[in-house]
């Protein structure tokens, strides 16, 4: 069972029920559960959408798009059924926050899904969990069954005469399926290849119907926004970045863990105070601020507030909120190789720049890291990544290219040190052996 952590600076909104047994429906109700949905049942859909917009809740899946805006794009009238799709595919390396939500507070996801349904006029929601999260799927399925049993789901939810169904779904190992349109493909029983956009899911989505897709954390936050009121929620964060975020802090820190901190919380403080600083008193070498796809930051670049805008200004991205801390005993070339290996393994293969680009980056870096690099390799890899950037079918190609470019640019010296048979300065036994079956 994953360890829970806590820190005084935390503002526990989404995580307030963690560790309190709220996966049981009675306990969830005791802790104020399902009040938000009842509040929403008494309001109209415009009210819900306006609250969401006013809350400045931005998507927690990575792109940080305003949830309220996204919901407002769904057409009111639709010949085809509308759907809510909860993205619990959580696969971005460095990210494990949705894991805890499903473990400790699955009803908050159910409640948020119902509210989203009320807001856009959908009668069915799907909760998609990555295949590896089997035990979380079982917990979630139990929670859904309990909600049905209480009449919170079904033909007449909360006795309101309204209908809402929730269906759970499992993946089977594919990062790309976290991309919203690939997610819909996967849910329809297909290969996880993204769709051409436009049309966007809000107009033509799952089974051709208008579909709202939100990250599990985004959805789990919804009931809290309703309960607190949009203004109060927004006030917790920074301008245009409402509320809190579950930051997954991992790597070389003393106290890794998932911490709920207000948007805009200082990254340096997050590492040195909240997470207890660098492990073993070592020095900081680099920080990946928002999951493996976000460009790495140098120690001198981390005195920034962790919200979408400030991290963007610093040349990286807040992404999924996965803060990976790297100490000075780490080989950046190996780290870059492990990063790109992941994207090569996970590229769906649909488009040329990503399929071939990630493969060649991985191959070149493997050779390079093993000590068989040539001086031209460094430029070639940068050239290759720069030519992938913005040219791929979906953002996975960018997700592979952006960190690669940052590693090469910011640690060029370290790359150069690997040349001419010089051993890796941080040599460690066991070379990367990741292979694809």
């Amino acid at each position: 069972m994953p360890r829970l952590v806590s820190h005084p600076d935390e503002v526990k909104i989404v995580s307030r029920r963690f560790g309190m047994g709220a996966e049981k429906i009675d306990r969830y109700l005791e802790l104020g559960g399902y009040e938000a949905v009842m509040k929403c049942l008494a309001q109209d859909s415009d009210w819900i959408i306006n609250e969401m917009k006013a809350s400045n809740l931005r998507g927690r899946g990575g792109a940080g798009f305003s949830a309220g805006m996204k919901w407002s794009f769904v057409p009111r009238q639709s010949a085809k059924p509308k759907y809510i799709l909860v993205n619990g595919d959580e696969s971005e390396p460095g990210t494990c926050k949705d894991h805890l939500i499903f473990l400790h507070d699955p009803h908050s996801v159910i409640e948020g899904t119902i509210i989203a349904g009320l807001a856009v006029g959908a009668k069915m929601g799907f909760i998609y969990l990555r295949g590896e999260y089997r035990y979380l799927l079982e917990i979630t399925e139990r929670a859904v069954a309990d909600a049905y049993q209480r009449g919170f789901l079904g033909k007449n939810i909360f006795g309101s005469g309204k209908e809402f169904e929730i269906i759970t779904q499992t993946g089977a190992g594919a990062y790309e399926v976290g991309e919203e349109s690939a997610l819909m493909e996967s849910l329809e029983g297909k290969r996880g290849v993204p769709r051409i956009k436009p049309p966007f899911p809000a107009v033509v989505g799952l089974y051709g119907g208008p579909t709202v897709i939100n990250n599990a954390e985004t959805i789990a936050t919804v009931p809290h926004v309703i309960n607190m009121g949009a203004a109060a929620y927004a006030a917790v964060g920074t301008p245009r970045n409402g509320g809190t975020r579950l930051f997954s802090i991992s790597g070389h820190v003393e106290r890794p863990g998932v911490y709920e901190l207000p948007m805009g919380y200082n990254l340096k403080k997050m590492i040195y105070e909240v997470a207890g600083g660098i492990r073993g008193g070592r020095n900081l070498k680099a920080v990946v601020p928002g999951g493996s796809s976000t460009p790495v930051l140098l120690p001198q670049e981390i005195d920034i507030g962790m919200d979408f805008d400030q991290v963007g200004k610093a040349g990286s991205m807040l992404g999924s909120g996965g803060v990976v801390v790297i100490d000075d005993q780490t080989c950046i070339v190996e780290f870059a190789l492990r990063t790109i290996s992941f994207y090569a393994h996970e590229s769906c293969g649909w488009c040329i720049p990503c399929r071939e680009g990630t493969d060649w980056l991985k191959k070149s870096l493997t050779r390079f890291h093993a000590g068989f690099g040539a001086p031209s390799d460094i430029d070639n890899m940068q050239y290759l990544a720069e030519n992938m950037l913005g040219r791929t079918f979906c953002p996975l190609g960018d997700a592979a290219a952006m960190p690669t470019i940052a590693f090469i640019k910011k640690f060029r010296k370290e790359f150069e040190d690997h040349l001419n048979g010089k051993p890796c300065p941080f040599a460690r036994e066991g070379v990367l052996q990741l292979t694809v079956v």
């Binding site: 994953p2 360890r3 059924p81 959580e90 696969s91 971005e92 390396p93 460095g94 990210t95 494990c96 949705d98 894991h99 990555r130 295949g131 590896e132 999260y133 089997r134 035990y135 269906i167 779904q169 499992t170 993946g171 089977a172 190992g173 594919a174 990062y175 849910l187 329809e188 029983g189 297909k190 290969r191 996880g192 089974y207 997954s248 802090i249 991992s250 790597g251 070389h252 890794p256 998932v258 990946v288 493996s292 996965g322 990976v324 801390v325 100490d327 190996e334 780290f335 492990r338 990063t339 992941f342 393994h345 769906c348 460690r428 036994e429 066991g430 052996q433 990741l434 292979t435 079956v437």
Partner: protein
């Protein structure tokens, strides 16, 4: 269909429980095909891998061609077409785990089991593979044995984990690979 595969008419591909579960699953979604990926995963849990017979039976149940099933199944990395051990050990070596010693743990598993990457122990109890991020980054390094998570690992914890599963394998059956003996394939998580 492989030549030595028993006639599908005479031996049902799935247990009655799983067959019943599949009957319900295809009803669950607005479109039948949405049941495909869960069905493949659950079938693999029971049979051990996606044999030709499994592919054919799933195709029949969904009403699509075997080619379509393979197109989809080969896309997803958790699905396999060859038997693995009864307990498949999946060591995450992605960045957060890498930083906290995943490769040391992975090597210890290799030493203890005497198998390399993608190896299966001769008794069929364990198989070992390196996997991508399993969503336990803050509790790194992490390993999944079938669907069980083991986190905050150190190489020294490896023998204990293995003996725990060995005990289960002994208790549950004679230790033969679940994949060769379908009847013995009930896995602890299923």
């Amino acid at each position: 269909m492989s030549p030595n595969h028993p006639n599908p008419e005479s031996i049902p591909v799935f247990s009655p429980q799983l067959a019943a579960r599949f009957d319900a699953l295809v009803q669950k979604y607005p479109v039948k095909r949405s049941a495909l990926i869960p069905m493949l995963l659950y079938a693999q849990d029971e049979v051990g891998y996606l044999s030709d017979a499994v592919v054919a039976e799933v195709a029949r149940r969904i009403g699509i061609t075997e080619l379509e099933v393979r197109n989809v199944a080969t896309y997803y990395s958790m699905l396999r077409f060859r038997p693995a051990g009864q307990f498949n050990i999946q060591v995450c070596t992605n960045i957060s785990c890498l930083l906290r010693g995943a490769y040391e743990v992975y090597e210890r598993f290799q030493e203890e089991l005497g198998v390399g990457p993608h190896g299966v122990t001769p008794d069929g109890v364990f198989s070992l593979e390196e996997v991508e991020c399993v969503g336990a980054c803050c509790w790194a390094p992490a390993v999944q044995v079938n669907y069980d998570f083991h986190d905050e690992l150190k190489p020294d914890l490896v023998p204990g984990i293995l003996s725990g599963y060995r005990g289960k394998a002994k208790a549950g059956n004679n230790g033969a690979s679940s994949l060769e003996k379908k009847a013995n394939s009930k896995e602890p998580h299923a």
